[in-house]
């Protein structure tokens, strides 16, 4: 099919749609945005992140960090110490991602009243059926 008529579909599908989707999945994922947000402030250790992110499990933190590292959005540094110490930091690429994410967040902030109102209307109509 031809997406050129829609700028949004065009840019989403030009080149590698799978790559685009994989990044959307990161952004849409529950933890990655907050991990990058924390790491762009300053480097964090594993346990530090674990404590800073309410509700995340060790497993999910590990997976999130590996995925973000694989995409080059964060970096991992291991210190040869006892006890072991590992620091994670955001890369320039990871920090640059915050710009479009902030744009999206800003859109939500700007329209949240509108969205909430529509939901209330739709839900009310559904209830009265």
């Amino acid at each position: 099919m031809d997406y050129s008529a829609s700028p949004m579909l065009h840019i989403c599908n030009e080149g590698d749609p799978a790559l685009f989707r994989s990044i959307l999945d990161r952004v849409g994922s529950k933890w990655t945005v907050i991990v990058i947000g924390l790491l762009e402030q300053r480097p964090h250790r594993f346990t530090e992140l674990l404590n800073a992110i309410p509700g995340i499990s060790r497993r999910m933190l590990t997976i999130s960090l590996r995925t973000l590292e694989r995409d080059g959005l964060i970096e991992r540094e291991v210190f040869a110490e006892v006890p072991p110490r590992v620091e994670y930091r955001a890369t320039a690429l990871g920090i640059s991602l915050s710009e479009p994410v902030i744009a999206l967040a800003t859109w939500v902030a700007d329209h949240k009243a509108e969205i909430a109102a529509t939901r209330a209307t739709v839900d009310a109509a559904a209830d009265s059926e």
Copy 2:
């Protein structure tokens, strides 16, 4: 916790974090972006969308449309005809969402080479273990 030190976390968590997440879920969802993209071109009927979106099931199309309608991103119009006809169109709100989504897509397009290269490096390192 205090997110004010990170602009990204701050704006993602000010107001209603759940609302923000729900919108991220839409954007991160497999079908919603393409549905909005098609509807911002022109109104489509249900079956038209079904045929225009390869791989989507009736069930998922229905769910996607309901969700988008609930958020006020698209509109549904039922024509009292035989056979039944239903048209979906993007609302102004839905069309406005394409702007930050395009910003995100543009970021991916701008950095996809970098991401792919990092992945290749990381994967190669993992293989040689």
